[in-house]
């Protein structure tokens, strides 16, 4: 109890300074939590686009972005003919724009693609897809912001397309996207005879290694990755993840410097007290516990305040209609645990120098300190 009081005493004495330190950590934790969760959600959604009803993705080896990948339709056709393959769906990704929306994701797919076959159709149906080359199917949100319904014509890029149907999906990229017949997309994006990637479902998942070997042997310019491998190794995802953690890390670093500043001031202002404790038998370790306890309390308070703020912010983002489907603000326990752990470690790291200083205080000199 006395130990706890000794830990909290200085925080109570300098309430404003303590609150600023807590706020620093809280903002860092909230920023890290929000940025990491939103980006993880975005990565997850993009992965879902690729992994829908498939287990393997085939794309061009050594490309930095799937939008630049080129897999020939002939290769896709050959792959779909392999006995181990249940189905192989080529998909061409592109970015288009309309008057109101600068960026719309466009998916060039075949009519038998599972995205079309298994979708929940709001207007029209799977059989309406690709009847005419200038037909497109819109995601529900795309239909909203383009103010379009079945039969209306929508200007996309330099062309005008007829809306053949509207489908609903929980994935923001798809829900705000446009589905074109693959041929039309190839023509629109000047990528005749090619797709961005081929999503593959095997008859037997255990054939994955054999499939990858065969791709390597038969199409040396292509690479086949299982969904989990792809999510883990795709450079864009890695860059996004690294950026998210780096942004959060910088925030925590600043929070840690705030704690270091608070703790240094704390030690300097109570140097005489530290000497009194030493003279009354406190060991260096016990002094260290008091100082580290103080910083741990600040960082734990900041972490919990930051968690509350970050969670509230994510909840608020979920309520923003224009972000529906684009932000997966689901909190992952692992992310929570890592963020809290990092905040506590930051607090402890910020207290290392002040604690070492306090532990080395010479009582005889400190007792003369006014």
């Amino acid at each position: 109890m006395i130990f706890l009081k000794l830990i909290l005493t200085n925080l109570r004495r300098h309430r404003i300074r303590s609150l600023i330190s807590v706020a620093g950590i809280a903002f860092s934790v909230a920023a890290m939590l929000t940025v990491v969760t939103v980006l993880q959600g975005a990565i997850g959604m993009f992965s879902n686009i690729l992994s829908q009803d498939s287990g393997i993705i085939v794309f061009e080896r050594n490309v930095s972005d799937l939008f630049f990948s080129s897999v020939s339709i002939e290769a896709a056709r050959q792959i779909s003919g392999w006995p181990m393959v249940a189905h192989a769906d080529p998909v061409l990704f592109g970015i288009v724009s309309s008057a109101s929306q600068p960026i719309i994701t466009c998916f060039g797919v075949l009519p038998e693609d599972s995205r079309i076959r298994n979708a929940e159709w709001v207007q029209g149906g799977p059989d309406d897809f690709a009847r005419h080359p200038d037909d497109v199917v819109l995601g529900e949100r795309a239909a909203q912001f383009l103010s379009a319904s079945v039969g209306s014509r929508v200007p996309i890029g330099h062309s005008t397309f007829r809306v053949a149907g509207v489908l609903k999906t929980r994935n923001g990229f798809e829900d705000g996207g446009i589905f074109m017949p693959l041929n039309s997309a190839q023509s629109f994006f000047h990528k005749e005879g090619s797709s961005s990637a081929v999503t593959v479902k095997l008859r037997d998942k255990d054939d994955a290694a054999k499939f990858k070997d065969r791709i390597r042997a038969q199409f040396p310019n292509l690479i086949a990755l299982e969904d989990t491998e792809f999510t883990r190794s795709y450079s864009q995802f890695r860059i996004l993840r690294a950026t998210a953690w780096a942004v959060g890390g910088c925030g925590l670093l600043l929070g840690g410097l705030g704690i270091a500043n608070t703790m240094i001031m704390s030690v300097f202002t109570r140097i005489r007290e530290i000497a009194i404790l030493r003279v009354n038998g406190f060991s260096q370790t016990q002094i260290g516990v008091v100082i580290f306890g103080e910083s741990a309390f600040v960082s734990a308070s900041g972490a919990f305040a930051g968690l509350a703020a970050g969670t509230s912010l994510l909840f608020a983002l979920r309520l923003v209609r224009s972000l529906h489907g684009y932000i997966d603000a689901t909190l992952h326990p692992v992310v929570l645990a890592i963020v809290v752990l990092l905040a506590l470690l930051t607090g402890i790291a910020g207290a290392v120098y002040p604690a070492v200083y306090a532990m080395r205080v010479r009582a005889v000199e400190a007792l003369r300190f006014e």
């Binding site: 009081k5 005493t9 060991s283």
Partner: protein
């Protein structure tokens, strides 16, 4: 006073011992102790008198292990004072009282007194029992939950006395313990101090300017120019 029987001779136990102790500050430019030899026996009350800067406080600090001599040896209860046994010394062998009470203002009287027991890991129940015992003897029983700011100067110094005696130290080191008190309070606190060390059988080594108080001790040493002189009076 306790005695050790050596054959047929009964001698008081030597608890404080300084041998050829040298100490200086500022890298040796300010010598304070110059070859001090000193013996203090168990149960005695010993006063160190002398002008400011003569080394009284320094000698106390050396016996308390909060500072170390540059040359010579300091022993408490027969054990040489060094960094290795410092914690044992501070937790069980010596208690400190200073001119300024040196209490922690945000803690209550009771909490301040319990600090040495927390440091030494003494059972809380035992510590509280001891606290009540000392508080009763120092007249602070009704002030235990009061914060230090609410106490008078005399009460603060009595609190410091309680804290110093909490772990039943064999030696009490008092550095101008009544220096910050008015004349009437000084007498009261000093009477209490002498009474407590007598009943606790604690050895008192006190640095003081106050000749009157010093003469009430069993032994009085004069310090001057870094040297300690033969007892001027022995009761």
């Amino acid at each position: 006073m306790n005695f050790v029987r050596l054959g047929s001779i009964v001698e008081p136990r030597l608890v404080l011992q300084a041998r050829d102790v040298w100490k200086s500050y500022d890298g040796g430019s300010v010598p304070v102790l110059k070859g001090v030899d000193f013996d203090g026996f168990e149960g005695q009350t010993i006063a160190l008198c002398g002008p400011s800067g003569c080394g009284k406080s320094t000698l106390l600090h050396l016996f308390g292990g909060v500072d170390f001599p540059h040359r010579g040896e300091i022993a408490v209860n027969g054990v040489r004072v060094c960094r290795r046994n410092l914690l044992h010394l501070l937790r069980h062998e010596v208690g400190f009282i200073f001119q300024l009470h040196n209490l922690i203002p945000d803690l209550t009287l009771a909490e301040n007194c319990l600090i040495p027991t927390v440091a030494a890991g003494i059972d809380r129940k035992m510590a509280v029992r001891r606290l009540h015992e000392l508080a009763e003897r120092t007249g602070l029983s009704d002030r235990l939950d009061h914060r230090i700011q609410k106490l008078s100067g005399g009460e603060r110094q009595r609190t410091a006395l309680c804290r110093a005696l909490m772990n039943r130290p064999r030696i009490l080191l008092a550095d101008e313990p009544t220096g910050s008190l008015d004349e009437r309070t000084r007498e009261v606190v000093f009477d209490l101090l002498l009474d407590l060390v007598a009943t606790e059988q604690t050895t008192l080594l006190m640095a003081t300017h106050d000749r009157g108080l010093a003469e009430r001790c069993d032994r009085l040493f004069e310090m001057h120019d870094g040297q300690i002189h033969e007892p001027a009076c022995v009761k």
